[in-house]
Amino acid sequence: MIALLVRDLRLAVRAGGGFGLGLAFFLLVAVLVPLGVGPEGGTLGRIAPGILWVGALLACLLSLDRLFALDFEDGSLDLLATAPLPLEGAVAAKALAHWLVTGLPLALLSPVLGILLNLPAAGYLWLVVSLLVGTPALSVIGAFGAAVTVGLKRGGLLLSLLVLPLYVPTLIFGAEVVKRGATGAEFATPLALLAAITAGAAALLPFAAAAALRINLR
């Protein structure tokens, strides 16, 4: 599993594209929204938690279709499926690699974009915390979607259609944590629920994703 993780990270760094693009996309969302909404700080500050979470979610979605598709095309997925490593472990390792190159940098970059969007000062810590806790769920859920659509032509479009509804609870609780953190309200409940979704998804979805991969490989 570690070998697979190291390989995927190395590929992400060498091929460049992947996580640089996701971050650039995230930045663009944060720049475009004020251009569309208007420069008024109060409005921006109020919608910032939601915008940042939606932006992170879309940036995450952007690189998902390559998660298994590249390995499927070059035959590595066949070889991984016959390797001693259980496919569930391979899915978990690849989802973790995906999070390390998308979710983690997004979470670390988010305070900068918070400044652009006039996020109230109290919100920054909770923005980073909520993204750190919530984005792993996005990667794992996305890995499931990518596994279901791996063999399909035009899989990318279908992937968004399948994955976005599954992102709803994560988005709601994630944005709620920031919103409440920024206004000084009680945020422990949504944070706990967000963590529960991440833990549950990470524990169970690799099995569903591996099942979908096996179906797609035969």
Binding site: R7, R14, G75, L79, P84, L217
Partner: protein
Amino acid sequence: MELKVSDLAVSRGGLVVLEGLDFALAPGQALVLRGPNGIGKTTLLRTLAGLQPAVAGAISAPPESLAYASHSDGLKAALDVTENLQFWASVHGLDAAAVGAALDAMNLRALARRPAANLSAGQKRRLGLARLLVTGRPVWLLDEPTVSLDTASVALFAAVVRGHLAAGGLAVLASHIDLGLPEAAVLDLGPFRPLRAREAHPPAGGFDEAFA
């Protein structure tokens, strides 16, 4: 250690393509699958590798003994030759010594640091075959292994397969050209084609019957 196939039927796209297959391989033996394009050589190898379920019959082999090499080599263009091999070696729990041996066996030492993106088709193929050596598995399932190899590389490949067999390994090879392995048994797949096309997993009672 034996690979034994009894009354096996395999399917592609929901239709049975081969049925009634029976063969057994002992250590040191190789079997070449022959037949025209589309007869089901790849499907049979994938079924043997456990990537798809058999329609009928049984495959008996020790667990985790099979190494499959498909048309595509499973190489990552951004990694160099050694890194590609190292990855598969560590997935299969082998160390750097195995990687070195595989590089030497397929004459890849001079290319060890070259990214896979810059390899020629034949060099990629050699790397793909070197991957088999770092799986440490006794049963090799090879799909058209000599595609895009030059004569020297085919000879090299034949020597590697011979070495594997001599060390007690087994090999099943699908190919429609000569592999330079005269000692291998040949199985022509033509006679195992089903006489009448039929569905692989017909529903209980059959959709046909529903309209009888």
